[in-house]
Symmetry: none
Subunit: 235 residues, 4 copies
């Protein structure tokens, strides 16, 4: 079933030229996933009723369970559909990056914000954090499908910087956590207090990302003496 639901987003465009019934069948999973993403992000996993998801997708309760065997599986499918795929593309871009690591750091942070953080899927991480304790199966799934790959990706950036002599020889894991902290804070803020009308603490993502990147790049810069050595070696 998992493969069945991983409907590529193009199915929506393709729909126009397909015969009526085939169209519905093809489009259903996508419509349901979109509706589910909306509601899960808006209300959380437990507070989202299967029936509401179905209603928002314009189908009946039963139809939802025709495509997803349970609410839990629906959630997993949403995560796979809206995060896992993007993570892969994100990883590719990082791998192909050629310039200096400090630039990669800023580029990656911004890219992540644009492609994940700012989208509706960005709300998932807050949700997962909140429900992890009550739904161990989901927590495990999210850990292995999202957190681990994501963490590894960022760790690879840190390692790249160290290997190229652009960063000090810091603890990779702790530094990775610091990066993650920056991004999680931005996204969690935007999906909780940041959405309150008169919040008073608006965070401009572009400025925030730029600032954090600079901060961390500066913080990781090799010491002057070390730089001297490096410079000398290059000579």
């Amino acid at each position: 079933l998992a493969e069945l639901v991983a409907v590529p987003p193009e199915s929506l465009e393709r729909a126009e030229q397909a015969p009526r019934r085939a169209r519905r069948k093809d489009a259903r999973p996508g419509e349901l996933l979109a509706a589910a993403l909306d509601l899960f992000v808006e209300r959380g996993f437990a507070a989202t009723r299967a029936e509401d998801v179905a209603a928002r997708a314009g189908v009946s309760k039963g139809t939802l369970f025709l495509y997803f065997p349970s609410k839990t599986e629906l959630f997993k499918a949403v995560v796979r559909d809206s995060i896992v795929g993007r993570l892969r593309e994100f990883a590719r871009e990082v791998a192909e990056f050629q310039g200096p690591t400090p630039e990669l750091v800023e580029h990656a942070m911004w890219m992540w914000w644009e492609q994940v953080g700012s989208t509706k899927a960005g709300g998932i991480s807050k949700l997962m954090m909140a429900e992890a304790g009550n739904f161990p199966e989901l927590a495990q799934f999210y850990l292995s499908e999202v957190i681990q790959p994501g963490t590894n990706l960022i760790a690879s950036i840190v390692q790249r910087g160290i290997a190229r002599g652009e960063f000090r020889n810091v603890d990779v894991m702790l530094t990775t956590q610091a990066f993650v902290a920056f991004m999680m804070h931005l996204i969690n803020w935007k999906h909780s207090f940041g959405s309150i009308p008169a919040c008073g603490y608006d965070v401009d993502p572009a400025a925030y990302v730029k600032h954090c990147a600079e901060l961390v790049n500066n913080g990781l810069k090799p010491h002057a003496s070390a730089m001297l050595n490096t410079t000398q070696l290059k000579k």
Copy 2:
């Protein structure tokens, strides 16, 4: 009724000098709030059953509803009760600190972890984040009672560093957010995925705090040229 339940923590101390039965009567809301805090932090709002709260407080289900008209109101009371006064001492210690700001940064982060983050009340922030959308009124309260004072406190540290020439002339608000990000990530992690047995990404708070402090202190360090100027000026 709402005010009735916002029992200040002193009620517990005051209790000593009152006759036995009255003491219990006064203590009831406090015991219920403590039990509710435990369970809400552990399981979240929806997954916490009113009956369990009552049982942990050693009273019957009916009694809970005698003091709090609904689970929702209980939740609000818990948040209000657990947060008020937490920041005051923390603020005082910061104000009294004499040494260089980079040291204050590390000191403050660690102090916060020990006095707030690692305690049961530390779970509140994750809780609030998750439920902010469902309790706008409460989110507003938390914003003005906790987030704003907290943010201002941290901002004052950043400003102190800049004023004393120990930090570059960075954007105060953005830097403050970066600090907050570090602490929020630690606490959220500890209360969600960090508690999964075989998580694989354990974060040692002491090492994390030390690393983040170093990173940000380094990152905020005035540039060499600027330092030179500063030095010369001091002369």
Copy 3:
């Protein structure tokens, strides 16, 4: 429609000489009935899903309802189809038997087990017993089509034994019920607890039949004195 579905088993043989497509069309109900018999016997009426019946018959869910207006009607058709004609051959063999009645008793019991009890149709009796209350019409049908002829057949054996002086002059009907009890117990056991892996009370049909036959033949044996008389009379 009810009559339409009561397809006699010969339809399968007849099918050979018809063109291919027509053959399938004729065979459909039979295939569905066979599939339904399997599943009803295996799982009972309520626990059998229409979709599973269709799948086992190799058609779609919709097709099932094309031939049978409801699951209930399908059930009725299965019972009617699976029972009719089963007893005829059995009755013939009994009628043709030449030897002493005690031998006939054992022979008939074993024959019944081999030709009915141990076959899939054997499961019907348990099914009917369980659902008789919910399908009065069907119970009536089963009573007149199966139970009455079957009972009469067995009664005729008892009468034969009495008439030939091989059995005591017992109450024919009660004795018949005792016979039936033996067989029903065997079949019901095999289709319920007997199929539990670690049941602990396996019943070997051959030994059981032999034992029961011996028991009842012994029990029906004329008393010694009576036998003496009989012997003397024969002389």
Copy 4:
């Protein structure tokens, strides 16, 4: 919980003189068990809705689950309440019997009919047979709580007869099954086809029991020659 629900039937009589609330609390399980027994026997396990049981007991859906954690446990409680207890008493009577075994056979069969078979609880065995395949947990429970003790009890009667030289040295287990067959047939018949108005095959329990007992006692009687030996031995 098990002990809680094993309410002695006297609670109903006692009820008159008890205070209002205590009465209800005490009486509930008994009322629910009675209602459940009625409906389970009437419709089967799967077809009986929890809500109907509650309604028949005069309480709401929720109340049922206050006393029994699931429909399955409710069923087990019914079995314990209406069968297991009687089985024990039945066993005691058998153990205390002093006379010859053939008399015990008839006495036990009749006692069983009066105390179990003819009561509403008698319908349970048919029900269990029908549902055993679909509810393995129930089947296992019934096997160990009812079938095994019951079978052992009957086996002990057969062994008693053999030990006292009143029965031939037959296979104990097969003979036991034969006994069981008699009783199961009677009870199943009464609860299925026997209850059809114009059934035509009424079985009079008293006559049936007497006849079966006689049949089997006769069938188990030691052979004349063996008897001769026995007689000689006694001399």
